[in-house]
């Protein structure tokens, strides 16, 4: 028995001369919420396919609950619920029929939990899948994934195209499940609103490489946006690292990735330059600063 829900070791996926996933290693502890961020084309989809045992890695591999997912896919997928960005079903099929279908596939199916959620979302079991809104389809898809009583839920860009209300409802369900059953969550997204307070670890995938893999609290505590009214400034004098520096006529703005008050005070004393503003950053802003302007895709 391992404490890890997911263990990815040196995962590499190539398409011809293109490397989509480049030697990625990361772990997700049981009960943890891991958010993998990356812009389109960063390699998220390839990584997810390997994670779900749908694609064989060119090198390295993925273990779920200690077992190799490529070798033990069928058994492991009984324990993994998936909500993908293009969750789909035949439009003529009713929600109830969908549930009956899934019930046959999953040994730990919880019909009562499914029906309670549908009632809560205001979706009837007789409703045809094709007549549902985008948000409702996502809700059905989540309810199906949770009804199989998973130990791990994989949310692949779950909020794509959802409005704020639908997004909130979706995450509330996941949080409830976290509290009740202690499941682990792996979510990929390029839209952090809604997830940034409940992800406890964050990874950033950029051109196939995991350029960041860190505790969310630690990340928030070390990044700052500093605005100066004078320029140019040498932040290195305080031992501060500027990941990005922008200057304009009368001032400059720096994103500092290792901020602390003492280092900044040292810089200030040495340079005599005062900052106009020092702002903490949301994970969303940190993601933009890291995966930034020249593109996380290819």
């Amino acid at each position: 028995m391992t404490d890890r829900a997911i263990q990815i070791d040196n995962l590499t996926v190539r398409y011809g001369r293109n490397t989509a996933v480049d030697n990625v290693s990361l772990n997700v502890e049981r009960g943890a919420v891991y958010a993998l961020l990356g812009r389109n084309g960063a390699g998220k989809s390839s990584l997810i396919r390997c994670l779900l045992g749908q694609q064989k890695a060119d090198a390295g591999g993925v273990r779920l609950f200690g077992d190799d997912v490529w070798q033990r896919r069928a058994a492991l997928m009984q324990r993994v619920g998936v909500v993908s960005e293009d969750s789909d079903a035949p439009p003529e099929m009713s929600v109830g029929a969908l549930a009956r279908f899934c019930r046959c596939l999953y040994a730990r199916w919880d019909q009562a939990a499914f029906e309670t959620r549908m009632q809560h979302f205001g979706i009837g079991l007789d409703d045809r899948f094709g007549t549902l809104s985008k948000g409702q389809k996502k809700q059905v898809s989540l309810a199906l994934a949770l009804a199989m009583s998973p130990d791990l839920i994989v949310l692949d860009d779950p909020t794509l195209g959802l409005d704020v209300v639908a997004r909130k409802a979706l995450f509330e369900e996941v949080i409830g499940e976290l509290a009740d059953r202690g499941i682990s969550v792996f979510v990929t997204t390029h839209d952090l609103s809604g997830i940034e307070t409940f992800a406890d670890r964050v990874g950033i995938l950029q051109r196939g490489q995991l350029v960041l893999d860190e505790d969310a609290d630690a990340l928030r505590s070390r990044f700052r946006r500093i605005r100066f009214t004078a320029q140019p400034v040498a932040l290195e004098t305080g031992g501060l690292a500027a990941t990005r520096m922008r200057s304009w006529g009368g001032g400059a703005e720096a994103i500092v990735s290792n901020y602390d008050d003492i280092a900044f005070e040292r810089f200030r004393a040495a340079s005599g330059v005062s900052a106009a503003e020092i702002e903490p950053m949301t994970l969303e802003e940190i993601f933009v600063a890291v995966a930034g302007e020249n593109g996380g895709g290819r």
Binding site: I175, A179, E196, F198, E265, A275, A276, P280
Partner: protein, 131 residues
């Protein structure tokens, strides 16, 4: 109850811990009052239940909250206020942080004290209005 600020550099468990302590200190939560279950608070604040659990554990160990088995979590009948020395330490910590931010942006002492006073009064006022 209170909100989590995703841009606050303080860890979320600490924001929760301080939020609960503040509600008690301001009288919004009375001794013996029930506090939300970890599940409800997690959903409400949209944070990981483990994060709420961490904050609650610290509050329980600190004598601020008590658990009644099978019932739930409550504000202690006589919630333990931080000891004078502890309070001092917390204040000094916060003051150091605030002072260095103020100096960094080139504020003088009067400006800094004014801002502090305004913030203090605003927080107390907002709680009164909500209560």
């Amino acid at each position: 109850m209170f909100a989590i600020n995703p841009a606050d550099p303080a860890p979320i468990w600490r924001q929760i811990e301080e939020g609960v302590r503040r509600l008690i200190a301001l009288g919004a939560l009375s001794p013996g009052a029930a506090v939300p279950s970890m599940r409800d608070l997690a959903r409400d604040l949209r944070v990981n239940p483990n994060t709420v659990a961490r904050a609650y554990t610290r509050l329980i160990e600190g004598g601020v909250l008590t658990v009644k088995r099978g019932e739930g979590t409550y504000v202690a009948d006589t919630p333990v206020q931080p000891k004078k020395s502890e309070r001092h330490e917390v204040l000094r910590d916060g003051a150091n942080r605030y002072a260095s931010t103020a100096i960094a942006v080139g504020a003088d002492l009067d400006d800094a004290v004014d801002e502090l006073q305004t913030a203090f009064e605003r927080i107390v006022r907002e709680h009164r209005r909500r209560a």
